[in-house]
């Protein structure tokens, strides 16, 4: 494997809905950058439509959704749904924030592939993305 030919992974870090708690999203944006990925942070108040539009425009390999307001059960699946509607099936979607453990099986069933809660190390997220992106 020639390392220099390896494509740089592009990640969109997105704040869903109206939630303004963006410490985690910002730390992840800066942290994944440190891990050698190209990261784009959407800023606050992104509707699922806007997130999907940005993801397509920026041609990202992965989307990290953040929500601490309790609206994750609507907002996260909606992003996956809209991606499918647009015919995008090779983008890895993961989530983080305050997500009660009992909601995780539901979210995984809806196509959010992993949920990272408080206390997650950026290194863990980076490794998960590297291993699981669908476009190699």
């Amino acid at each position: 494997m020639n390392k220099s030919k390896e494509k740089t992974i592009r990640v969109l870090v997105a704040k869903t809905g109206l939630d303004g708690h963006d410490r985690g999203a910002k730390v992840l944006t800066l942290g994944l950058r440190n891990e050698g990925m190209e990261t784009i942070y959407t800023g606050l108040r992104q509707t699922p439509e806007k997130i999907v539009q940005t993801a397509i425009q920026e041609d990202v390999d992965a989307i990290g959704l953040s929500c601490l307001s309790g609206a994750h059960k609507y907002l996260f699946p909606r992003v996956v749904e809209l991606l499918k509607e647009k015919g995008v099936d090779d983008v890895l979607v993961i989530g983080g924030g305050i997500v009660p453990p009992e909601d995780i099986p539901f979210l995984k069933e809806k196509g959010i592939e992993e949920i990272f809660g408080p206390g997650t190390m950026v290194g863990e997220v980076a490794e998960y993305i590297r291993k699981n992106i669908k476009r190699k």
């Binding site: 809905g17 730390v27 800066l30 609507y74």
Partner: protein, 577 residues
């Protein structure tokens, strides 16, 4: 004195050479893992000017001459809770859901006014029926679209608990003036004069731009809204606090201790300046400023020093920069004091958060506050605290207060070489940062340029780096995570008064109620009032609150008012990371 200090410095050198060095060598240590402080670390310490007596300038030793004394609990009865303080932060689903919650809590003996948590659409100036806010209605608090919702929420607050006999808290910032106008409209409809109302709206919009994120309008227009509230409350509502400045939000977003203090002071200065610019005497409004639980971290002594430094710095700012003469302007009013920092709760082995919150509570008692362990241990587990977790927090408070008698002595660490040194150090760093912000043109300019937002993000990232490299340790997160550690299970056996099934139904119900209301109100009056709002909003000097009250009475919705203002003021566009 200085000859003594010289002697102590000399003695310290000798001690380091003769006592410390051999000890380190014995344990193969290059550096001492501990520190020791002596009078040499507070060389120019002057008790009267740097500490003083409690309740006296510069208030280092305490805001008041004595600690708020709590009544001894009578056998079999809980300690009486003051009726004129608001209840704990609460608000659920639709206005009916929240009304029912308060009815249930009153059945269980609660006598306090509501401390309302609003959902995010309400906090961001959107109505529940806006498709943009799908999924958010009733989630982080109660949905309020019109005066109708306030009428419903306050149904249980009549008679003995009429509006002039309770205090209400509103965690509202961007649309504060609109929501408080709805409350004023409710009072007027019930025949209660505004000067009898007790309330605290958070009304701290500037920290929303750098920490909490529920802004609507650009900073300069937001400051006009702040001016309107300051002037209106000062003239008409002497018992309504003007603002409850939230230092802990800034810390929670990632700011260091020094940034937290400096940014909070810069924000307070900007608010004071608005009042002065409006032609008011600083002493006529500064006593109605309050602070909402400054700080927050697990670094015990530093948080104690921080509280002392914050009181002293605030006193100097108001007295020296703004020329206040009234002692009540100069003291920093803070209902809750030091605490662990909500962001330091862990999902991992969550009962440990109780231990952490007790550490914060002890820091509070030793720095002029009550030993209130905040938050309840299940803070990071989901939304809403369980009754069990709240009970444990309240019991821990009672144990610290009644059994450990932590509040018997005020500022018990005054004169400690270490704590005085830390207090000076934190205050000095904060003054330096405050001067930097002022040289940029003040806090509004520093927000517009994105300076504060970037600095906080950098500090948050640095903290994460320290956790990932184990320079900072968090038990159960980056250390002591082996398989032999026991995962202590927590369970909720007592059902929460808010049924989760209602949460699922809240959005649809609230939307339907709003649709009915919009159909049945006098819509010609509504559009006339909105037209007038536009004209008034365009006049910079016009105070909009009286007109918001008229709009509220006609059931104009929050978003309808905000949309007019969005048109006139524009919307805030955040700086990029």
């Amino acid at each position: 004195m200085s000859a003594d200090i010289e002697k102590i410095k000399q003695r310290k050198k000798e001690w380091e050479e003769k006592v410390l060095k051999p000890a380190l060598e014995r344990f193969w240590l290059k550096e001492s893992p501990t520190e020791f402080y002596s009078p040499a670390d507070i060389e120019d310490f002057d008790f009267p000017s740097q500490v003083g007596f409690p309740g006296e300038y510069p208030f280092t030793a305490g805001t008041y001459p004595t600690s708020p004394a709590l009544p001894a609990p009578r056998r079999g009865l809980p300690a009486a809770s003051g009726q004129v303080r608001a209840a704990t932060y609460s608000g659920y689903g639709t206005s009916e859901d929240t009304r029912d919650y308060y009815i249930e809590m009153q059945r269980r003996g609660q006598r306090r006014g509501p401390n309302l948590a609003f959902d995010l659409p309400t906090q961001c100036g959107y109505d529940s029926d806006n498709p943009l806010v799908r999924g958010e209605v009733g989630k982080t608090g109660v949905a309020v679209d019109t005066l109708k919702d306030f009428e419903v929420i306050y149904e249980p607050f009549q008679g003995e608990l009429e509006l002039d006999r309770i205090a209400s808290n509103f965690t509202i910032n961007g649309p504060c003036n609109i929501l408080i106008a709805m409350y004023f409209a409710l009072a007027e409809k019930r025949g209660i004069p505004l000067d009898k109302l007790r309330a605290t709206p958070q009304n701290d919009i500037l920290k929303e731009f750098i920490a909490r994120g529920t802004y609507i309008f650009p900073p300069r227009h937001s400051m006009r809204m702040f001016r309107d509230s300051l002037v209106f409350f000062t003239r008409h509502c002497p018992h309504v606090n003007i603002t409850s400045v939230g230092g802990y939000h800034i810390r929670g977003a990632g700011a260091t201790r020094e940034q937290d203090l400096a940014f909070s002071m810069a924000i307070l200065c900007a608010y004071l300046q608005e009042g002065v610019n409006a032609g008011l005497d600083v002493d006529s409004f500064a006593p109605r400023f309050s602070v909402n639980a400054f700080g927050g971290s697990m670094e015990f002594f530093k948080e104690i020093a921080f509280q002392r430094a914050a009181r002293r710095m605030w006193a100097k700012v108001v007295k020296e920069k703004f020329g206040a003469r009234n002692e009540r302007s100069i003291l920093l009013r803070q209902p809750a004091g030091a605490h662990m920092g909500y962001e330091n709760c862990t999902v991992q082995r969550p009962l440990n958060n109780l231990t952490r919150s007790v550490v914060g509570a002890i820091a509070s008692a030793l720095s002029g506050g009550l030993p209130i362990p905040m938050p309840p241990f299940d803070e990071p587990l989901g939304l809403g605290w369980s009754l069990e977790a709240s009970q444990l927090s309240e019991d821990a408070f009672k144990i610290l207060y009644y059994e450990a008698k932590l509040n018997k002595v005020l500022d018990p660490l005054a004169g400690s070489y270490y704590v005085e040194h830390l207090t000076d150090e934190i205050e000095e760093a904060a003054w330096k940062e405050l001067q930097k912000i002022e040289s940029m043109g003040g806090v509004v300019a520093a927000i517009e340029s994105g300076y504060m937002q970037r600095e906080i993000a950098k500090s948050a990232f640095e903290r994460q780096r320290r956790i990932e490299t184990a320079e900072d340790l968090v038990v159960g997160v980056n250390c002591f995570v082996g398989e032999n550690e026991l995962e202590v299970q927590t369970s909720h056996l007592v059902p929460h008064p808010y049924d989760p099934v209602k949460r699922e139904q809240a959005e649809e119900k609230q939307i339907k109620r709003l649709a009915d209301l919009k159909k049945n109100r006098d819509n010609r009056a509504v559009s006339q009032l909105l037209k007038e709002l536009r004209v008034k909003a365009q006049k910079e000097d016009e105070n909009l609150i009286p007109h918001f009250i008229e709009c509220a009475k006609a059931y104009v919705s929050e978003q309808e008012m905000c949309d007019v203002l969005r048109d006139v003021f524009g919307e805030y566009q955040p700086a990029t990371l």
